[in-house]
Amino acid sequence: MGVFLIHVLNALLYSSVLFLIAGGLSLIYGVMRILNLAHGNLYAVGAFVTAWVIGWAIEAGAPTALLFLLLPTGALAAAAVGAVIERTLLRPFYKRPEEYQLLMTFGLLMILEDLIRLVWGPNPLSATTVYAALGSLSIAGDRYPTYNLVIIAVGVIAAVFLWAFIYRTRFGVLLRATSQDKRMASALGVNVNRIYIQAFTLGCFMAGLGGAIVVPSQSAVLGMGVDALVLAFIVVVIGGLGSLEGALAGALIVGVVREVGITLFPEIELAVLYLIAALVLLVRPAGLFGRASA
């Protein structure tokens, strides 16, 4: 029973982080119809910035409680980078074929990948102090790191906030209107450019938050962005590009399959995930929760 519970928690842990990354990716696609290949790198930016800030704070002798308050810095940094990218590099592309947008974000992926190496060097950065500070607790006789529960909680809170944000606020209404019909929204007086930059920034914030909360439990390493992106792809393909409910469902499915896969079929775990994605696309091209389009 204890082992089973721990597997469930691990799956949830994994799903939480995936939801943050894939939810951001899906939000951006849903509103702007841009598939951001550099999205994984924003997750990496979140992880690196948080690890760096926390390392710096520890050196300055900051109390552990303060370190927790510094966790979101990575998310803010990713959001800032996202805002700059949208304004300068993506805006000229909205009227061009989507192939060019894909290429542009592929270029951004290469640039961000190396910028991270340039700024933080080739060695992994970690922030394990935060992870260790919470210790572990006993679940049905087994030890389980308390920090992992924090990650799950952040994932759940983010999902709830996002839902409330999109379905219960004025901004959410404008966002959904723009997503459904950009021209009509624009004709009705919605400032589409502003919605775009807000959506992109919010999406990047989520990716950065994923990186920021994950970094105390695992180090920030080069290449983590590209790995995360490919998993996020699977999530959005299963759930449906542009749908947040889909991102949530997809993240849960991928989280569970991964947890089962690591113990039962470690060799083909990734292949199984890709095949599930391909099967979903075959049966429901728009994904489980996607609106039929394209």
């Binding site: 598939l35 290949l37 590099l89 000229p92 592309f93 061009r96 074929p97 989507e98 192939e99 060019y100 894909l102 290429l103 542009m104 592929f106 270029g107 951004l108 992926l109 290469m110 640039i111 961000l112 990948e113 190396d114 910028l115 190496r117 340039l118 590209v226 490919v230 792809f233 699977i234 393909v237 590009l241 470690p266 060799e267 083909i268 775990e269 990734l270 292949a271 890709y274 095949l275 994605a277 391909a278 696309l281 075959l282 091209p285 394209a294």
Partner: protein, 330 residues
């Protein structure tokens, strides 16, 4: 797909000859003029050009952006490695035949799934499927060598055993072998895109509904284009393996597909020779960027961003624009 993406076609037989003959002479003379290292770089470029040529049958002529062509390149390379390791074969002709077969098989399989979709979903689906191959190559390390890959020795060419000096062999005998295969591939692709079949693909690209209306079976044509495209890229992978001496998962990972897209756009996917020029230019660019700085990705990424921003038609587009401006002035 809109008109702006159309492959422009203006040529007379004489103009083509005026370009092909000097280019062929230059390529034939190259190993005697430039040093072996340069020759190897040029070979990597020619091999990439075969792959990009195949890729552009989909992007430039059919209007489908694949982000999974690393699968076919990798399939070609690994076919060679498997033939060496498990069947003890050393003949380059058998390598090519094997990789044509394997990449055809895989592209039929992938194509059957992928051509149901267009645009962004086509891209994601090709990417996801190519990653299945990558993860298999990565995880089944006892078969594939995992991240270390598999060693590929120098092959026999037309039955002749390789000479002892490996560099000498690669830079001369193997160079001409690659050049010959390259010439055949270019010729074949030229015939394909100028055949009624090629015209039908362009019709599908320009207007799917009308193409269907005049009786073109869209999905079947797309599938055939997908398979031809996969085979060309597979052949490139097979030629690449002995040159590189190693078949490794680097060429199966999706960012390598991105590089194929990159080189094609760099050269200009609206012209026939764009991908060839782009592949050679990209290979030189990457070789020098890697030698020049550890931050070569940054450099290449910046080139791609600038390219997409100011030169979406690539090198060939820029040349054409310059050419017509000069003409007008005279």
């Amino acid at each position: 797909m809109n008109k702006a993406l159309a492959v422009s076609e203006v040529h007379s037989p004489w103009r083509i000859l005026a370009w092909v003959v000097p280019a062929a002479l230059l390529l034939i003379a190259a190993p005697f003029v430039i040093d072996p290292f340069q020759t190897l770089t040029l070979m990597y470029g020619l091999i990439a050009a075969i792959g990009a040529l195949g890729f552009n049958l989909l992007l430039g002529y059919t209007g489908l952006l694949s982000f999974g062509h690393s699968a076919f390149f990798g399939a070609g390379a690994y076919t060679v490695a498997f033939l060496v390791k498990y069947l003890k074969i050393a003949s380059m002709e058998l390598f090519l035949a094997g990789s044509v077969l394997v990449s055809a098989l895989i592209s039929v399989l992938f194509g059957y799934v992928c051509v149901r979709y267009t645009r962004i979903f086509f891209g994601i689906l090709t990417l996801a499927l190519s990653q299945v191959l990558w993860s298999l190559a990565f995880k089944f390390f006892w078969v594939t060598g995992g991240s270390d890959g598999l060693r590929v020795p120098t092959p026999t060419l037309l039955g002749a055993a390789p000479t002892d000096d490996k560099m000498e062999f690669l830079a001369h005998k193997y160079y001409y072998y690659v050049l010959a295969v390259f010439a055949i591939c270019v010729f074949l692709m030229w015939v394909i895109v100028h055949s009624p079949f090629g015209k039908a693909l362009q019709a599908i690209r320009d207007n799917e509904t009308r193409a269907e209306f005049i009786g073109i079976r869209i999905r079947r044509y797309r599938l055939i284009a997908f398979v031809i495209s996969g085979i060309f890229t597979g052949v490139a992978g097979a030629l690449w393996a002995p040159l590189n001496g190693l078949a490794s998962p680097d060429v199966l990972v999706w960012t390598f597909s991105g590089e194929i897209v990159f080189m094609t756009v760099l050269g200009g996917f609206r012209t026939f020779i764009g991908p060839i020029i782009g592949a050679i230019a990209f290979t030189y660019l990457k070789t020098y960027a890697v030698g020049f700085t550890v931050y070569w990705q940054l450099l290449l990424g910046a080139v791609l961003v600038v390219l997409v921003l100011v030169l979406p038609t690539g090198i060939m587009g820029a040349v054409e624009r310059l050419w017509s401006r000069l003409k007008r002035r005279n």
